[in-house]
């Protein structure tokens, strides 16, 4: 019986030591792998970005697609300059009003194009259509196109880039 007890003790001791040694490696391993999930690993500029002279956009003209370029993006270990974040459709609706719509489709994130013959926006992936104002016309998209904040400063059009969650009715920043 004493031998049984001894063997049981040895088994428990072995498991305890083995578990401790295993944890010493597994703990840091899991910490390292999980940590990036809770961090901003790719920075996005929060300041308004320059889209060029405001006067190039005229009342009555078709919407114009403009690339949204961040002067600097930090992506984990890299710092990249002039990174294209996406595109916006720009339209001057009144002499003192410019509207910018994100070209990212609210459905599943494809790039929305302008259908000149129909005079409205069309997403090529799943045929969602949007009015020139960005309202949802037909197709699978749950909401209209996402408007982006713009302002004119010293004659230059400034846009604040926001990426919204796709595939839902509510408009929430991603």
């Amino acid at each position: 019986m004493a031998d049984e007890d001894r063997r049981r003790f040895l088994k428990v001791a072995t498991c305890a030591i083995g578990g401790g040694v295993g944890l010493a490696v597994a703990g840091p391993f899991v910490t390292l792998i999980v940590a990036p999930a809770g961090k901003v690993t790719v920075t996005a500029p929060t300041d308004p970005l320059d889209l060029g002279a405001a006067e190039q956009f005229r009342v009555g003209a078709e919407p114009r697609k403009v690339d949204v370029v961040a002067p600097m993006v930090k992506d984990a270990w890299i710092a990249a300059r002039n990174v294209v974040l996406g595109a916006a459709w720009i339209r001057r609706t009144a002499p003192d009003k410019i509207v910018a719509l994100s070209a990212i489709c609210p459905h599943l994130g494809c790039s929305i194009g302008w259908d000149a013959s129909a005079g409205n926006f069309l997403c090529p992936c799943h045929d969602s259509r949007f009015s020139p104002e960005g309202d949802k016309l037909n197709g699978p998209s749950e909401r209209g196109m996402d408007e982006l904040p713009v302002e004119v400063r010293d004659g230059r059009l400034q846009l604040t880039w926001v990426r919204y969650k796709t595939g839902q009715t509510a408009r929430e920043p991603a």
């Binding site: 063997r7 030591i17 040694v21 490696v25 990036p36 270990w77 890299i78 710092a79």
Partner: protein, 573 residues
């Protein structure tokens, strides 16, 4: 429940069931080496997995990703250090395992294959380390690899082909990394895994070599031997973890740079070869290839030459003596190499400089990120780094306050601000200004305006300061200054765009970036100093326009900078 599960698994062929694994002669601490080595392989696999999740095998990104892992990822330094030092531990424990096996005579029939597979594993593990060291793409790993590949390239006949095959073409680059990466994380683990499986299976099948005259009663392996294994593993891990924490992982040198010399040293377990090459002089390449072959040959030959069935120490002395001699030679050479380095003062100085570069690169990578153009360009991410590097190389000897050969005005923080202009106007030939120039010895030098009434002086300084485009101008003073200028200065100087003074520089835009660019490009132009009054060479042919513009930007920055601002800038490489 437990039995049900056991039965389930046994019925489906997962476990053999039946008698538990036994160990001949009973449990012993002498048998723990295999278990410790297995555990070290598991650590390498787990930490390697973690590292791979952060590593980018490309010439532009590799160093940056390792620096990110080491300095920014949570506990990245720990797993990286564990991976590196566990590899060292593997070499040490494998060496002990080998010595012990030799002492016990466990290489003898029928265990020759186990011995040879063990030797093969040792070689594979060393190759594994070589393929891993280059991946960080820092100065240390890069240059060590160049030397190692250089040795392999000295192999008669096939050397050139080996080199091209190893580095993936004619020179070091992206393919070098992707190749060594593939070897390190896919091919070698697979081969080492297979050979280890063979080594362990055979060893288990043949059973442990009985120790001394111990009775050969078989005892269950679990838990007696397992506990001893666990204790040995725990002890080794304690040492390893303490070491990893004390070293804060493992060092990372500056990014690989083919243009920057570096005192390349191989990993410590190749130091004996390094020392041997040093001693061999011109025969170094022969020695570097021949010595490993001799050591390897001796180890492989051991079971073939020592064939007598006896395992008694005394009767195997010649063989063991030979083995001990080889090991002593390796140990002695290793020691000699480290001692030689420790005594080399010049080397210590170069290493200190290299370490400073490494720390600077890592700090800049942390603060600014690494440019997509490659890790070496991280040095140019500190503010105005290019301009400051050009200044140090091309301008400093004539313009720095500390310079012994100064010929022109001192350029430093505050250059061109109000007090600088004031001091200049009051005494242009002062030590800080034209004092060291040839101009001072001629009649053409500007005279001192120290006698001018203070209010007039201040106003004219405001006027000249205003040329820089600075926004903090006192308009009333400037207006008065332009009147003073007409009376006191305009005989020699002009203030209109593109107009040279009658006998002195035009002052339009003085202190703007455009002005500095123009001045640096050609100080001898009539608009500036004129051909005969300036000793400063023209730089429009010497420096690219972007370098000149960078210098101009730097000069503008200096106007509002304090010495503290300048000291706070990261040093340039």
């Amino acid at each position: 429940m437990k039995t049900a599960l056991r039965d389930y698994l046994r019925e489906r062929g997962v476990s053999r069931g039946g008698a538990p694994a036994t160990i001949a002669g009973g449990a012993s601490f002498a048998y723990v080496f295999g278990a410790v080595l297995m555990w070290l392989l598991v650590i390498e696999a787990v930490t390697g997995l973690a590292l791979a999740a952060f590593y980018a095998p490309s010439a532009t990104d590799a160093w940056a990703s390792v620096a990110y892992l080491q300095d920014q990822a949570v506990l990245g330094w720990f797993l990286r250090g564990l991976h590196f030092h566990a590899a060292s531990a593997t070499v040490i424990v494998a060496g002990l395992h080998l010595v012990q096996t030799a002492l016990h005579g466990a290489y003898k029939k029928p265990r020759e294959l186990v011995w040879w597979l063990g030797i093969l594993l040792m070689v594979l593990i060393l190759a594994w380390a070589v393929t891993g060291y280059v991946l960080r793409w820092d100065q240390a790993g890069y240059w060590a690899n160049k030397v190692e590949v250089g040795i392999a390239a000295a192999t008669p006949v096939v050397g050139g082909a080996i080199r091209k095959l190893a580095i993936g073409g004619n020179d070091y680059g992206n393919l070098t990394l992707t190749r060594f990466y593939t070897l390190h994380i896919l091919l070698l683990p697979a081969i080492v895994g297979a050979v280890t499986a063979g080594h362990v299976m055979l060893a288990r099948k043949l059973g442990a070599t009985p120790l001394g005259d111990r009775e050969r009663t078989a005892r269950p392996r679990w838990p007696d031997q397992t506990l001893r294994n666990a204790i040995a593993v725990a002890m080794m891990m304690t040492v390893l973890i303490v070491y990893v924490v004390a070293m804060h992982g493992v060092e990372l040198a500056a990014p690989a740079d083919p243009s920057q010399a570096y005192d390349a040293r191989p990993l410590w377990y190749f130091r004996w070869l390094f020392e041997l090459r040093d001693l061999a002089g011109r025969a170094e390449k022969l020695v570097a290839l021949a010595m490993p072959a001799i050591v390897l040959g001796a180890l492989i030959a051991l079971p073939l030459v020592d064939r007598a069935p006896t395992r008694e120490l005394k009767r195997r002395l010649p063989y063991l003596g030979g083995l001990a001699g080889l090991l002593a030679l390796i140990g002695g050479l290793t020691l000699a190499s480290f001692i030689g380095d420790a005594r080399d003062r010049d080397l210590a100085k170069r290493n200190t400089l290299a370490e400073q570069r490494a720390q600077l690169a890592r700090k800049l990578a942390r603060d600014n990120g690494v440019p997509v153009t490659g890790a070496s360009d991280v040095f140019f991410t500190s503010p105005m780094a290019r301009a400051r590097a050009v200044f140090a190389a091309r301008c400093k000897s004539c313009h720095d306050a500390e310079s012994m050969d100064r010929k022109g005005p001192v350029i430093g923080p505050g250059h061109g601000n109000r007090s600088w202009i004031m001091a200049f106007v009051r005494n242009p030939s002062g030590d800080q200004f034209w004092g060291h120039s040839k101009l001072v010895k001629t009649d053409a030098a500007m005279k001192s305006f120290d006698q001018m009434p203070a209010a007039d002086l201040e106003s004219v300084v405001e006027l000249i300061y205003g040329e820089s485009g600075a926004s903090d101008i006192d308009e009333a003073k400037r207006k008065h200054g332009s009147e003073v200028f007409e009376i006191g200065c305009s005989d020699c100087h002009a203030r209109d765009e593109g107009v040279a003074g009658a006998s002195a520089p035009g002052l339009f835009g003085l202190g703007t970036r455009e002005y500095y660019l123009s001045f640096i490009s050609n100080p001898r132009s009539a608009l500036h100093m004129g051909r005969d009054k300036s000793e400063m060479p023209r730089f429009d042919k010497e420096l690219s326009v972007s370098d000149r513009d960078a210098l101009a930007e730097y000069l503008v920055w200096l106007r509002t900078a304090t010495p503290a601002d300048a000291a706070a800038l990261d040093p340039v490489d």
